[in-house]
């Protein structure tokens, strides 16, 4: 079979070569001077015009008919702003693009070679050049300043009341840490990371970490400001929440952050898209190795009350990994037991420590 295909391909090539040979011999026989303009010159002018028309028709047709397919519904406050900027820029650039595109290919068609005609000697026109320097400059200035305002708002510091959530990237999964009831994330350091359970590198001498809890899904409250604190354990990753228009790299050694307000709960988005299985997702957008394409994390947006309830129901990390109690300085163990929600009394410590650690 593959032998036949090879033979067929070779034969086709041979035939093509023969056609080419004959055609070039014919043109030699005709004695056409290479300096002369080809008699088929006009064909290209028509083809360019055709390209322009079909290109524009195709562009507008696809952009219109498939609009819902290539636009993601937006679910954050600043996302509405950046989307608006996106579409304003789109309107401006498409207008400029269409005009230049049409004018250029029209010129290509109109001023194709005609025997005996002489081209215009038109080396410059300062007025014209000034105009098309200044107009784009003004248009761009407007775009820049609207963009700057949006950018400054997006990157301004988060408020004190913001819900702080930590996102940690590693090859090839995300994890999330919530600050627990005290609303403050405990310290963490990559040197405390181990292979037994402390995969976030929690600092067990910091009492604020005792009530922190870890999840493998990102839960967000609707309508409340969220401050994502982002870090990475191994290589650079990038947090990408497409529906919230959020993107920020996770860099080892340099914590980053992004604040935003989600505006639609998962349930509302299911209704809006008419897709009962809809889920928000988080992806990685910085090449990070073999599994880069599979770094998915499920994102759930709750109504605020629902979120608080969910949050209060989560088990602390320490409760899930009681063995680490032993590593907590003795004077803090009592606090740890209470904050982690394991015990209300002192009696259990010794048994837990004895039985929990390897």
């Amino acid at each position: 079979m593959s032998f036949l295909i090879t033979i067929g391909a070779l034969l086709t090539l041979v035939i093509l070569f023969l056609i080419f040979r004959i055609a070039s011999l014919v043109s030699v026989a005709k004695g056409r001077n290479p300096e002369e303009v080809s008699p088929n010159n006009g064909v290209h002018a028509v083809l360019f015009l055709l390209f322009m028309v079909l290109g524009l028709v195709g562009f507008f047709w696809y952009s219109y008919t498939h609009f819902d397919k290539y636009t993601l519904p937006v679910a954050s406050e600043h996302g509405v702003v950046t989307d608006r900027l996106f579409w304003i820029t789109m309107a401006v650039t498409v207008a400029a693009f269409v005009i230049i595109f049409i004018v250029m290919f029209w010129f290509v068609f109109k001023y194709q070679y005609k025997e005996g005609r002489k081209a215009a000697f038109y080396p410059d026109n300062h007025w014209l050049e000034l105009t098309w320097t200044i107009i784009p400059a003004i248009v761009l200035a407007v775009l820049i300043f609207t963009g700057l305002r949006a950018w400054n708002n997006i990157t301004s510091p988060a408020s004190e009341q913001a819900e702080v959530i930590e996102v940690i990237g590693q090859q090839f999964a995300w994890s999330v840490r919530y600050p627990g009831k005290d609303n403050v994330l405990g310290n963490a350091n990559y040197r405390f990371i181990d292979n037994f359970g402390n995969d976030l590198g929690l600092d067990l001498t910091d009492a604020k970490s005792f009530d922190d809890f870890k999840t493998l899904e990102l839960h967000l409250p609707k309508g409340r400001e969220v401050l994502l604190k982002i870090r990475a354990k191994d290589v650079i990753h990038s947090v990408f929440l497409p529906h919230f228009r959020v993107k920020m790299d996770a860099v080892p050694g340099m914590p980053t952050h992004f604040k935003f307000i989600a505006t639609k709960s998962t349930r509302e988005m299911r209704e809006e898209t008419g897709n009962p299985d809809f889920n928000y997702e988080m992806a990685c957008t910085e090449i990070c190795g073999r599994g880069h394409f599979s770094m998915r994390m499920l994102v759930v947006v709750h109504e605020p009350a629902e979120f608080d309830k969910w949050k209060s129901e989560q088990e602390t990390w320490l409760k899930q990994n009681p063995g680490y109690l032993e590593k907590i300085p003795a004077d803090l163990r009592e606090v740890a037991l209470v904050k982690s929600g394991m015990e209300k009394s002192n009696s259990g410590i010794s048994t837990l420590v004895a039985g929990g650690m390897h």
Partner: protein, 626 residues
């Protein structure tokens, strides 16, 4: 006056040098391999560039098969790719990343920097400014052979068992620094760094030569304001390269230290492979700053030669002077300067201080203005022209079209607020492939079609050229335009497959279309390769000035020897764009024709220049004496 004096001296020197070569012809090795003739070196760059273009293109076709047809059984690639095809007949995900990495590296550096700038700077600078050769033929030869060595090292890295570098062509550490993170960061990355170090040496040797030659070795009368725009473009390109490549060298050197000698320039707080690394205090972002300090100017290193070539070809084939010569030079100068202060627009979402983002957004959008001016000037050059569609002209018009389509999306990406969503999606892929990848590649092809008669003394077949152009032009648009939609939908780049996300589950139709278009476009390039080699030996002999062009290279013999002009170097009396001048007999007046011979077409201020032409005779006498 001093300048004239120096150039006379060098001319004399180069002159005798040239004659030496004409008398004893030299052997195969000195003529074709270790030649110091800029024309031969240019052809060496071109052939090596074409070789790399084919490799880079094939790599892209392989990963497009994966993206367009994710369920396809690739078992048949096993004889070539061996272990990189999994037992299930799929492409290995890590090798996929190696493919995109090598595709990027090869295309940006080996094809569009060395293959484009190396070829045409070498070939055209001496021919168009009227010089016997480069300022230093030996350094020029070294430049090629460093590039050759660099190519050999990079080529070898494709075949090692752990695979070539796979961390993206931007090789961000820590991924590129840690072999634990990805196999390609082992020996593959070492070879990548060695190869790039050699490559940078090659670029610097070439660049110094181009700059020196343009400043010092212009023929009599060839003032800067009479330089063809090609030479201006090569001049700016070389300056940009000279200033930016050393920074990449520094970045690579520090990365080598981090990889091999335990330093922590880029590494900090890393826990990988079950252990915490001792490195602290480094900054991964530092590398990105250093990389993009080259990386962004690199975009213009790639693009400016294409724009210069296009300016020349569009003017010649519209039979019109390029519109706004000074504005064209000015916009290139402006772009060259601005290219150094926009780099961090690649880094809006890396976590750098948002205030920096503000500054870089401002500067980035400013650079759109000179780019827009260039497009307007091209379009106006076409206006009221008398356009001949040679294959070179087709590719030049194609370049302007692609530059427009791809350039305009830069306004989105340069806006930090909009970039948050679009960063590292297919929108970016579409943008830079159109504006710098395809556009520059079109510039390169246009240049080959246009100057082939000068390079090999024969004509390329124009019918094959037409077929090649239309397949490529439509193909390239079909490959990259649909990617805008995929990008707006949020699809991230460098994804092996889109099966894991509901958000990114659509567009299998567009992805298949893109892949088919990519394969057809790639196949069409073999028409060009055939045409190139066939015409080199069997093409019709070229007339002295096949495009009826004004520039100096067409005053050389059909097969110019080392030294370019058999007699003395012609003097230049006018700018290179006297096409369709009112009153002139022909529709072009070569640069070598003095105003005193064209009283019928001179503009008032040009008549004043006739007196000066007489004064210039003194150096001619000196030159004639040798």
């Amino acid at each position: 006056m001093a300048t004239t004096h120096i150039s006379t001296q060098t001319d004399l020197h180069a002159d005798s040098h040239g004659h030496e070569h004409e008398h004893h012809e030299g052997n195969f090795w000195t003529n074709y391999i270790f030649s110091q003739d800029h024309k031969v070196i240019a052809k060496q760059f071109l052939l090596t560039g074409m070789f790399w273009a084919v490799i880079g293109g094939i790599l892209s076709v392989i990963f497009r098969l994966q993206l367009g047809f994710p369920n396809m059984n690739l078992e048949w690639l096993k004889p070539v790719l061996g272990g990189w095809i999994t037992p299930e007949g799929k492409l290995d995900p890590e090798f996929y990343l190696a493919l995109v990495t090598m595709h990027g590296t090869i295309m940006v550096f080996f094809v569009l920097t060395a293959g484009l700038s190396g070829t045409f700077s070498n070939f055209l600078i001496p021919l168009q400014i009227g010089a016997r050769d480069m300022a230093s033929g030996f350094m020029n030869m070294l430049s090629y052979w460093f590039f050759f060595l660099s190519s050999v090292v990079m080529f070898i890295s494709l075949f090692i068992s752990t695979g070539p570098a796979a961390g993206g062509w931007v090789i961000y550490p820590p991924l590129s620094a840690l072999p634990q993170a990805i196999q390609g960061s082992g020996l593959g990355m070492t070879l990548w760094l060695v190869s790039m170090a050699l490559f940078i040496v090659s670029t610097l040797l070439g660049g110094i030569n181009y700059i020196t030659t343009i400043i010092n070795m212009r023929t009599r009368g060839m003032s800067f304001s009479r330089l063809p725009l090609t030479v201006w473009a090569f001049f700016f390109t070389a300056i940009i390269g000279l200033l930016s490549f050393p920074v990449l060298f520094a970045a690579a050197l520090l990365l080598i230290f981090d990889r091999s000698f335990g330093t922590s320039f880029y590494l900090s707080d890393i826990y990988i492979g079950g252990e915490a690394l001792p490195n602290t205090g480094g900054s991964a972002i530092l590398f990105q700053h250093l990389f993009w300090f080259l990386g962004h100017p690199e975009v213009y290193i790639v693009l400016l030669p294409g724009l210069g070539i296009t300016s020349e070809i569009i003017a010649t084939n519209s039979r019109k002077p390029i519109f706004g010569y000074k504005a064209m030079v000015g916009s290139m100068l402006f772009i060259a300067i601005l290219s150094f202060v926009v780099w961090a627009h690649h880094m809006f979402v890396t976590g750098m201080n948002p205030f920096l983002g503000t500054i870089f957004m401002l500067l980035t959008l400013i650079i759109a203005v000179p780019s827009a001016v260039k497009i307007f000037n091209y379009v106006t050059t076409l206006w009221k022209g008398n356009i001949r569609f040679t294959p070179a002209m087709l590719f030049s018009i194609g370049l302007v079209s692609l530059f427009l389509t791809g350039g305009i999306t830069g306004i989105f990406l340069g806006n930090a607020a909009i970039d948050i969503q679009l960063h590292d999606t297919y929108f970016v892929v579409a943008h830079f492939h159109l504006v710098m990848g395809a556009a520059s590649f079109f510039g390169m092809l246009a240049g080959v079609y246009h100057w082939f008669p000068k390079m090999f003394g024969r004509m390329m077949d124009d019918k094959l050229g037409y077929i090649h152009f239309w397949l490529t032009f439509i193909g390239v648009n079909l490959v990259f335009f649909p990617m805008h939609y995929i990008g707006i939908a949020g699809f991230p780049r460098r994804y092996y497959a889109f099966t894991n996300f509901e958000t990114f589950s659509g567009f299998s139709d567009l992805n298949a279309l893109v892949s088919v278009a990519a394969i057809v476009t790639m196949a069409a390039q073999f028409i060009f390769v055939f045409n190139f080699f066939y015409s080199m030996f069997r093409g019709r002999l070229a007339p002295a000035n096949p495009w009826r062009s004004t520039t100096l290279e067409w005053t050389t013999p059909r097969f110019p020897k080392h030294g370019n002009w058999p007699g003395e170097i012609p003097a230049v009396y006018r700018w290179p764009y006297d096409y369709s001048k009112p009153g002139a007999k022909e529709d072009y007046i070569p640069q070598t024709v003095p105003f005193s011979e064209t009283p019928e077409s001179n503009l008032p201020h040009e008549n004043d220049l006739i007196k000066l032409e007489g004064n210039g005779n003194a150096p001619i006498v000196v030159e004639g004496k040798h």
